[in-house]
């Protein structure tokens, strides 16, 4: 409830700021896109009786304005989806709804924001500020805006960030008709927190980041409700009960850029509830420019992730991918690769193609094919969810 009041207040405040400007002086940018999507599932009906097809419409809108000669900035960035089959996948989110004030070396930011930490292409293990929307994308790369007050201090030695984050948001999982989805539903009525303030706990994080020669380095600490809950089967309801422990995570991320070679590393140590764990993920990306005397580039990406928790879903995984960029007027590109559990219990092939077909139209074709998956693997529930998705984005 409080959150709604604050969002309304923020809206009014932003309106006031805009209105207080000389009308002719307002310079703004507004753009976005609408993207219908059609998915067909290659194994027919799903393991949990889901349909063999789905349709969906995704939208994104962005509005930015600078006030007082650029000393203040307002950003509104909204995404939303209407999904034919899964009501959990239909949503609207203010990814960014923020007011920024720029002082000489300090930036003050209030409102919803997306903060990305890390350097890897695939395994973004240290990225923790924003909650994931697994209904939107089961791999967790799609995030919700996180309300925050944040301060950035830009010193010649590097950047210092402080984040104060109220209003924890629970993770969103695919619903009954979602595909892919977990074998059991996540019960929204039985959520338990370690913190006595539950979802009202105010989370905090600090980060230091700097660029030194060919190195981009970040060190961060997060303390708050873990974005990722523990899920336990409730034998009575036959649903999954979610438990959110308190997470205290310290992380380091480094990228080294040496000519056509990029070397990437993310590592963390964290106390999750009572237990401490360690994780490391990294790899390399090498690009061949001007492939066979054409204007195309070919990038080769190899990444690996390790986590010392035996019961953790991604404790020993590797990815090998190729990224082909044609560098033509149509911005044609293809990313394809293999994600494999190195202990050999699951693997998945994926391909993502994109091309601009008109100045304001872009087509995307995504494919995901699951290989053999062991019955005890976390992704076993998705084994029959190999899919082909066609998306066409119309830009405004």
């Amino acid at each position: 409830m409080l959150k709604k009041y604050i969002i309304s207040f923020l809206f009014l405040f932003l309106q006031y700021l805009v209105a207080s400007q000389n009308a002719s002086a307002i310079d703004y940018k507004a753009y976005g896109f609408i993207q219908p999507e059609i998915t067909t599932f290659l194994n027919g009906d799903g393991r949990h009786d889901q349909s063999n097809s789905n349709q969906s419409i995704f939208v994104k809108g962005t509005f930015i304005t600078y006030l007082n000669d650029g000393d203040q900035k307002i950003t509104i960035n909204t995404t939303g989806r209407i999904d034919e089959k899964d009501s959990e996948r239909s949503y609207i989110d203010f990814q960014k709804l923020k007011y920024e004030q720029y002082f000489d070396d300090i930036t003050l930011k209030i409102g919803n924001e997306l903060i990305f930490w890390g350097v890897n292409e695939s395994f973004n293990i240290i990225d923790i500020i924003n909650q994931s929307n697994l209904a939107e994308d089961i791999s967790g790369t799609k995030k919700f805006g996180q309300p925050m007050i944040s301060l950035n201090y830009n010193h010649s030695y590097g950047n210092f960030d402080l984040f104060i984050m109220p209003f924890f948001k629970e993770r969103i999982f695919p619903g009954r008709n979602g595909r892919p989805r977990l074998a059991l539903e996540v019960d929204k009525s039985t959520v338990v927190y370690e913190s006595s303030s539950k979802k009202n706990k105010i989370d905090a994080a600090v980060r230091y980041s700097t660029v030194y020669d060919d190195y981009d380095i970040g060190i961060a600490h997060f303390y708050g409700n873990n974005r990722s809950p523990e899920l336990n089967v409730n034998p009575l309801s036959q649903k999954l009960d979610a438990y959110y422990p308190i997470l205290s995570q310290t992380s380091l991320d480094i990228q080294s850029t040496k000519g056509a070679w990029l070397y990437k590393l993310e590592t963390l140590t964290a106390k999750n509830g009572e237990e401490r764990h360690f994780g490391i993920a990294g790899g390399t990306e090498y690009t061949i420019y001007g492939l066979r005397e054409t204007t195309s580039d070919l990038g080769i990406i190899v990444e690996y992730t390790f986590d010392d928790r035996n019961d953790f879903a991604f404790n020993n995984e590797g990815v090998l991918a190729l990224r082909w960029t044609k560098n033509d007027i149509k911005s044609t590109s293809l990313l394809a690769g293999l994600v494999a559990d190195m202990s050999g219990s699951s693997n998945r092939f994926f391909a993502e193609f994109e091309q601009r077909i008109r100045d304001d139209l872009k087509v995307f074709i995504d494919m995901s094919i699951n290989g053999e998956i062991d019955a005890d693997d976390f992704t076993y529930a998705f084994e029959e969810d190999s899919q082909l998705t066609l998306k066409i984005a119309k830009y405004f």
């Binding site: 850029t257 007027i329 911005s331 100045d359």
Partner: protein, 265 residues
């Protein structure tokens, strides 16, 4: 006083024997003209402008890309300028921001913010010969304007359209260039008018024409139109600088990695 005398003597010796000047080798003369031509465009401190990039294929199809950018001149003569570019069209890349710290002998440092990813990535800049945004302009054409990136040679004078130009040959001295050599025509105000690029095999690849020269701050010549004709694939790229302003007083900190987010969506 004694020293003054020596200086006088040396001065006299030099003025008495002007043939010393003609002893300048073709390489020295080439370097001198290239340096003067480069310095013609220096001293701007900082710069803002909007740019249009028009791509034309052999069938006459035309696509226009719009970006706006700012550049900070590096007053350290041994290091390169910094630039920040904001992409407006095509619409699917609107909101993309690129920051580039150029260097004279090393690879440039480049960071890219892509709205679809919502993160700032450090990218490799070793793709010198790669096409910029699907155009006929290579990355090295932007970052390689410093005369020290080439070995020079004066070839002679050439008359074109009743105007006499210095004709210079240059060879890139950095790795991964897509060119074996370049031939430039420079006028007596040290402005480059035409530049032929030869590919690695030694074949003529493309010709760059620099037009619409404008004199800024009474001393800086900048071309506001550049046209690249690719001889091999017949594509044409036209670059236009609009609303170019120099010495506007941009904060140095705007060109740091963390400032990309102030521009980003």
């Amino acid at each position: 006083m004694k020293r003054m005398k020596y200086v006088k003597i040396i001065f006299i010796v030099f003025t008495l024997f002007p043939f010393h000047l003609s002893a300048e080798t073709a390489e020295e003369k080439g370097l001198r003209i290239a340096k003067a031509s480069y310095e013609n465009g220096r001293g701007f401190t900082d710069m803002v402008s909007d740019q249009l990039m028009i791509l034309i294929d052999p069938k006459g199809n035309e696509v226009t890309r719009e970006v706006s950018g700012k550049t900070l001149e590096n007053l350290d003569p041994n290091d390169g300028d910094k630039s920040l570019t904001y992409f407006k069209t095509p619409k699917d890349v609107e909101g993309t921001v690129m920051l580039s710290h150029t260097h004279i002998s090393d690879d440039d440092d480049q960071w890219l913010y892509l709205p679809a990813l919502g993160r700032v990535k450090r990218i490799s800049s070793s793709n010198k010969s790669g096409a910029f945004m699907g155009s006929e302009v290579a990355f090295e054409d932007f970052s390689g304007t410093d005369y020290r990136k080439y070995e020079w040679k004066f070839l002679g004078e050439e008359v074109e359209n009743n105007e006499t130009f210095y004709k210079l040959e240059s060879y890139p001295n950095y790795e991964n260039s897509g060119y074996s050599k370049r031939i430039s025509l420079i006028d007596n105000l040290n402005r480059t008018h035409k530049l032929d690029f030869y590919d690695r095999k030694g074949e003529l690849l493309k010709t760059l024409y620099l037009e619409d020269y404008v004199l800024y701050k009474d001393k800086i010549w900048m071309a506001n139109t550049m046209k690249v004709e690719n001889i091999q694939n017949k594509n044409i790229t036209i670059l236009k600088w609009l609303n170019r302003e120099l010495d506007v007083g941009i904060n140095k900190k705007d060109f740091e990695k963390s400032s990309i987010l102030r521009l980003a969506d």
